[in-house]
């Protein structure tokens, strides 16, 4: 398998603090990779660099062979990278369906004039967009919730809706920032199953940040560990769990011993 995403020497500095320090990383097409590490290790900052919210001072980010550096966030989304957020950031006053429709924004091309005149082509496109948005909501398990205003959705559903919105842009790489945060075990299981289906049925490459070690260990094919912005370990879940540096910096002896410890922090 070829690497879909490849990071070389990526470094991001915030006023003297090196948030991401010379990180190299390769993510294979159709793989599921987890990024773990203590709070403030630079995980979300790395995601922000990938999606164009931050521009790394040093380094190269290649997606499918071409550089993402210097592109605007919407251009990066256009290339096929979509994401969700650690603290859910839906368009709160829009319905679930509208959220997904915004996700599809890039894939719609009817001109604004045609929207005013309601040309047949524009109508057809809108219709198709709504249909596929419904299909996406069904896919993540939000069937029947299309017209619910997103702030009124239960917490777990909001996380699912974020995934559906990200899918709207037809991504090849999906970045999930703590998808299971704040979920109870059964919701977490649902999310893990969804992640698998995304990869298996839609062929999307998954790159996720997660604190829940149970999720990380059971879902990922490879794991990368960040600490103080540096990558301190990388490998299969088993390798990482056995890594002395990881245990010291992050897991603590207890977790490493109990194989699948109880839910870690929410």
């Amino acid at each position: 398998m070829t690497a879909l995403l490849s990071l070389q020497h990526v470094t991001k500095v915030f006023g003297g603090l090196t948030a991401v320090d010379n990180v190299d990383l390769e993510i294979a097409e159709r793989s599921i990779t987890s990024l773990i590490g203590p709070n403030g290790a630079g995980k979300t900052t790395l995601f922000n660099c990938l999606t164009g919210l931050h521009r790394p001072e040093v380094g190269e980010i290649l997606f499918d062979g071409s550089s993402l550096i210097g592109l605007r966030p919407d251009e990066i989304t256009d290339r096929g990278v979509a994401r969700t957020y650690q603290n859910i950031r839906l368009f709160g006053r829009m319905t679930a369906l509208e959220n997904v429709l915004v996700g599809q924004h890039l894939r719609l091309h009817a001109s604004h004039w045609s929207a005013v005149l309601r040309t047949r082509r524009q109508q057809e496109e809108e219709h198709a967009a709504r249909e596929s948005a419904r299909a996406l909501l069904r896919f993540v398990g939000l069937h029947g919730r299309e017209e619910v205003v997103s702030t009124n959705l239960p917490y777990g559903d909001q996380r699912l809706l974020e995934v559906a919105r990200a899918l709207g842009s037809q991504p090849r790489l999906l970045l999930l920032d703590e998808p299971a945060a704040g979920m109870n075990p059964s919701e977490t299981d649902r999310m893990m199953e969804l992640v698998h289906r995304l990869r298996d049925e839609k062929g999307i490459t998954i790159f996720l940040i997660e604190h829940d070690m149970k999720v990380v260990m059971s879902i990922s094919e490879s794991v990368a560990v960040l600490d103080y912005g540096e990558k301190i370990a990388e490998g299969t879940p088993e390798e990482v769990r056995a890594d002395a540096r990881v245990v010291e910096a992050y897991l603590g002896p207890e977790v490493a011993v109990q194989e699948t410890a109880g839910p870690a922090s929410g």
């Binding site: 966030p73 368009f91 006053r93 809108e126 842009s169």
Partner: protein, 640 residues
């Protein structure tokens, strides 16, 4: 409990006194003359009514179980400040009979007010009777007012004798007003939307169309009442009965506004369509029926509807707070003026020659000039948009405000280009098929009726475009951007393009409005384009209900139309308008006719600038809203 409520009534009385003192200070009793006292008592009754009702509703919201079982269900276990233990027979009586309690509270509040008014006016009258001069400016207004309050004309001031009977009369009048208010509140029950209830009844008795009319009457009645009070109460004797045209204008405004309500409240589908068509026919026939003055007011109203619709795209849809919107209005107006008025500056004539237009045989007609004005305004919109792309919130507001002022100052000071403060005169009137209606009657249409008709058609067109755009992917992108700019961008919205489109489209509409405004005014001056135009436009979309075109029409009727009705009492016009603006925001912050989407806005934690703790406050907010919003909100829910 009894003690607390007594303190509350006295507080109500004190506020009532402060309020009436204000009216005395700004000179209302002097205007009304001898009848001032009963009128003030009536006003204070209205005030007590509002206050008592709010408190009653608030009380109910806090203790839903009360009224059913009182506090009896629980033993008195509190200690300290919250001691409820004095269960006197009076207290028992009051909790058992909320109506009596309210009336008593009204009485107490009225007594407080009356006593204070009596004491103060007594002091003034006594001072005047003894020939004591009161400080400079104040001595002109206040004594006359106070004298009017106790039924003495200005000429009689010197002999004003301070009679005990008059004091007593004052106190009794206000006490009666308070009691009346208390009784009225209790009679109306907890919801107190008797008017809306009669509408509900009508809906059941008659067919659907009549029903919606009934419902709209129920909703609109408070407004009619308010307008009536504003009209009767404020202008006083001087304006009363002077101008029949004003009354008709008022009725026109109310009819249009309540028609909108009727559309909104009728059942979706056939009923709504019928009401909408009826309303449309009614409005389109107006230019042919109304006289010159009424038409000119309605024309102005609909020019501001266009402004509102344009600004709504920028503020309501895209969430960009623009306080310099007048700039585009001015650009549209001046562009048309340059193209159609005899005034010529060397720069402009040069430009016209370049464009292939002969500068001395003027001039581009209205229709030829329209695209030019729109394009110029749109370019202005983009030129403003580019530098402010990175700014957010209040920074954006102040920069746009600065931009608007800069444009105005340029118009004022660039004499060679714009004729400075002398303005541009004799702007030609729009013609149709080569016939210009200026001055003469154009068929059935007066010249102002023609402008009104044009404004009507243009605003319909603008509303159509705005609504269509808003329901397209562009509208979704705008709204997403308003909700969370970063996420919108990461979701694929091209921020620069989307923002600039909002600015440009908004500016284009303002340009259209500006051109029609110039045609309406015939002569324009820089002072037509002050910051207040921007504020008016912003206020009308917010008062009407941001994001909702119907609300914008309603807002324009209320904010641009009603003040014209009050023109007879110019000084009071702005004060009333300003006070209403504040009250409106407190009572109904989402506007009169909010769009469905924004109805949740009042409780949106982000909007409140409160982070997530805003969520915590949510309960508080809606509770207060329930308590504070009078008839309208409750009534609406009830009839639905």
């Amino acid at each position: 409990m009894a003690l607390q409520s007594a303190a509350g009534s006295i507080r109500t009385g004190l506020i009532g006194f402060a309020f009436l003192s204000y009216l005395i200070l700004i000179g209302i009793p002097g205007r009304i003359g001898g009848s001032a006292l009963p009128v003030l008592a009536l006003i204070s009754a209205l005030f007590f009514w509002l206050n008592l009702r709010r408190e009653a509703a608030h009380h109910l919201a806090r203790n839903p179980e009360q009224g059913l079982e009182g506090d009896e269900g629980k033993p008195g276990w509190e200690i300290g400040a919250n001691a409820d233990s004095d269960r006197s027979s009076l207290h028992a009586l009051l909790t058992a009979r909320p109506g009596t309690a309210l009336a008593l509270r009204g009485l107490l509040a009225g007594l407080t007010t009356g006593l204070l008014i009596a004491v103060v006016s007594g002091i003034f009258a006594a001072a005047m009777g003894n020939g004591v001069a009161i400080q400079p400016v104040l001595d002109k207004i206040v004594p006359i007012n106070v004298a009017a309050l106790i039924g003495v004309s200005p000429g009689q001031i010197v002999q004003a004798e301070v009679s005990f009977i008059r004091f007593l009369l004052q106190i009794l009048l206000f006490a009666g007003a308070g009691t009346l208010a208390g009784l009225a509140v209790s009679a109306g029950g907890s919801n107190l939307t008797t008017a809306a209830r009669s509408g509900f009844l009508a809906a059941h008795v008659s067919g659907p169309t009549l029903g919606s009319v009934g419902r709209f009457a129920g909703i609109a009645l408070p407004f009619v009442l308010l307008a009536y009070i504003a009209w009767i109460g404020l202008p006083g004797v001087t304006a009363f009965g002077t101008n029949e045209g004003t009354v008709r204008l008022l009725l026109t405004l109310i009819a249009t506004g309540s028609g909108l309500f009727a559309v909104r409240l009728s059942r979706p589908g056939r009923e709504q369509r019928i009401v909408a068509v009826l309303l449309g026919l009614g409005v389109v026939s107006m230019p042919f029926i109304l006289d010159q003055f009424q038409n000119s007011v309605m024309g102005l109203v609909f020019i501001f509807v266009m402004m509102g619709l344009g600004l709504n795209i920028v503020v309501g849809y895209a969430g960009l707070l623009d306080l310099g919107y007048v700039a585009f209005f001015a650009i549209g107006a001046y562009t048309y003026a340059f193209l159609s008025a005899p005034f010529s500056s060397p720069y402009i004539s040069g430009l016209l020659i370049l464009m292939g237009v002969s500068p001395d045989s003027p001039l581009l007609g209205y229709w030829m000039a329209l695209p030019v004005a729109m394009l110029t305004a749109a370019i202005g919109g983009v030129l403003l948009g580019i530098p402010v792309l990175r700014l957010r919130g209040d920074y954006l507001a102040i920069v746009t405000l600065g931009f608007g002022e800069i444009i105005r100052l340029f118009m004022l000071n660039l004499g060679e280009l714009t004729n400075g403060p002398r303005g541009i005169l004799e702007i030609s009137q729009p013609a149709l098929f080569g016939v210009s209606p200026a001055g003469v009657t154009f068929g059935l249409l007066s010249s102002q009726g023609w402008i009104f008709l044009l404004a009507l058609v243009s605003s319909a067109l603008v509303a159509f475009v705005a609504i269509r755009l808003n329901s397209s992917r562009l509208g979704r992108a705008w709204f997403a951007m308003q909700e969370d700019e970063d996420v919108a961008e990461a979701t694929g919205v091209h921020l620069v393009r989307t923002k600039l489109l909002a600015f440009a489209i908004g500016a284009t509409f303002a340009g259209m409005a500006g051109q029609l405004y110039a045609a309406r005014q015939i002569n324009i001056f820089p002072e037509n384009f002050t910051l207040f135009v921007s504020i008016d436009a912003l206020a009308l979309i917010i008062v009407g209900g941001i994001g909702s075109p119907a609300g914008i029409v309603l807002g324009a009727l209320a904010l641009k139309g009603l003040p014209e009705v009050l023109r007879g009492v110019d000084e009071y016009r702005i004060v009333t308008f300003a006070a209403l603006l504040v009250i409106m925001m407190i009572v109904r912050p989402a506007g009169i006719l909010p769009s469905a989407r924004r109805r949740t806005q009042g409780t949106d934690p982000d909007e409140a600038g409160f982070d997530d703790s805003g969520e915590l406050m949510e309960g508080l907010v809606s509770e207060e809203q329930v308590a504070a919003s009078p008839g309208l909100a409750n009534g609406k829910e009830e009839v639905r």
